[in-house]
């Protein structure tokens, strides 16, 4: 009887040994905002006959902490410099293995049926986002009793950029009490799509790929530090470098652009 219980307790441990045989699969940790394009790119990659690629999406902060705690990961794509710098400081990524992959922009969005218009591609800003006197009043009028959905400015890159932008526009002091801080950027997008939040501050790429969002305004580039997605290698092997190079290839760039990201050619002076 005791022997049976002992065996039962040991059984889960036998599974762990089997994981080492899956040498061919890569693990990529990436910011939540890259979900759509990266899934398409990995499908295209595996279709070329290369090995399997496993993707894990979450806020860059969550992923960086998991990597620092020893999570098995080969490539990390962060939504901001700070978390990549943190991992380099921890010695998990060497500076030579870091490159900037993508850029993005910050926009303010609203749910689609608030106006009943189709296509979120219309770039007719209904709100002029510049540091001017009436801006806060106009935003409050749109909000009514609702809140702005945005990544948590304490740790989500999209939220950090958002706070920066709202500060530079002079509306942070009052608007920070009217936020729904979400755990990652995609949750903010989801809340606006569902109409739970009348406004949201998300990446241009989210607004581009969503069919349920209306673009209200784009934040001026000068209102926040440039949004850059650095890519870093945690483990170095031919397979890892192969996938990394695929991410920089024309095919992948086309998929990124289609999802509303800015690829490396648009970014000036970056390495």
């Amino acid at each position: 009887m005791l022997g049976a219980v002992f065996l039962l307790l040991l059984w889960p441990w036998t599974v762990i040994g089997q994981e080492k045989k899956e040498a061919q699969s890569l693990t990529v940790f990436a910011a939540a905002s890259l979900t759509v394009p990266l899934q398409k790119i990995t499908t295209a990659y595996t279709e070329t006959g290369a090995g399997r690629v496993d993707l894990s999406f979450a806020a860059s902060s969550t992923l960086a902490r998991q990597i620092a705690a020893g999570a098995p990961c080969d490539i990390f794509i962060s939504a901001d410099k700070a978390w990549m710098d943190h991992l380099i400081d921890e010695g998990l990524i060497t500076p030579e293995n870091r490159r900037n992959l993508l850029g993005n922009a910050l926009v303010m969005v609203a749910p689609l049926d608030s106006r009943g218009e189709s296509a979120s591609e219309d770039i007719q800003p209904a709100l002029n986002l510049s540091p001017r006197f009436g801006l806060e009043g106009e935003i409050m009028a749109i909000l009514g009793s609702g809140r702005i959905a945005m990544g948590d400015p304490a740790y989500v890159p999209a939220g950090i950029y958002g706070r920066e932008a709202l500060m530079s526009l002079g509306v942070w002091m009052n608007l920070r009490h009217r936020l729904i801080p979400t755990a990652n950027d995609r949750l903010a997008t989801m809340l606006v799509e569902r109409g739970e939040a009348p406004l949201g501050i998300v990446y241009a790429s989210d607004s581009h790929t969503s069919h349920a969002l209306r673009l209200v305004a784009a934040f001026p580039q000068s209102s926040h530090t440039p949004i850059v997605y650095p890519l870093g290698l945690i483990s170095d092997s031919a397979a890892v470098r192969d996938f990394r190079d695929f991410l920089f290839s024309e095919k992948a760039s086309a998929i990124f652009t289609e999802s509303g990201f800015q690829t490396i050619e648009f970014l000036s002076g970056n390495r």
């Binding site: 806020a59 902060s61 969550t62 902490r65 943190h86 009793s145 609702g146 809140r147 948590d152 304490a154 740790y155 936020l179 729904i180 801080p181 979400t182 755990a183 809340l191 569902r194 109409g195 739970e196």
Partner: protein, 237 residues
Amino acid sequence: MGKARLTVFGLSSMEMEAIQLSLRVALWGVAWSLPLAVSVAWLLARGRFPGKILLDGLVHLPLVLPPVAVGYVLLVMFGRHGAIGAWLFEEFHIEIAFTWRGAAIAAAIMAFPLMVRAIRLSLETVDRKLESAARTLGAGPADVFLSITLPLIVPGIITGVILAFARSLGEFGATITFVSNIPGQTRTLPLAIYTLIQAPGGEETAMRLVLISVAVALVALALSELLARRAAARLEA
């Protein structure tokens, strides 16, 4: 409950806010679900009707489902555009999503199965002969319930309340998915700890909050144990 601007026991206002919110959410969650829990427990213990197994399964669903899934279903139902949420807002101007009320509902639903089980167990041990005796003496069914059954199941109710309260204090997944993480409204102790460990350098404050959570839980459990003993003593008399 007003906002604590002064520091009590050396706690910052952020910590006080999280504690007050956690207590408010847990207390109201338990208070709102208690009458329903007693009714459902009574139905499951005594009732004989088609679909009883279904009800039993439904009640135990929050125990089995991942809390995030429960939170998402709540968001769909009680959000501004949800089936129930829209009606509540239009008719009564009650907002549930992104408020402490929503957090209380989330906690209550996750703790409901625990409360029902404890009360049901207690109901099943009540000596039916006492109830029949009361009926033969001329008491109506409501009178029997209130004067005979209810006092006998008080220990079970207290156990259920303690379990539900403890579960509500620790509720995270359903809360953060349904009502998000809004300071002052829904950032209870577990959510505050989660936020702190996400940012570099927040570990120390997070540890403080963990210790505070332990202290709050211990005090609450000690108080309820005291209550349970008093109630048991009164029953003996």
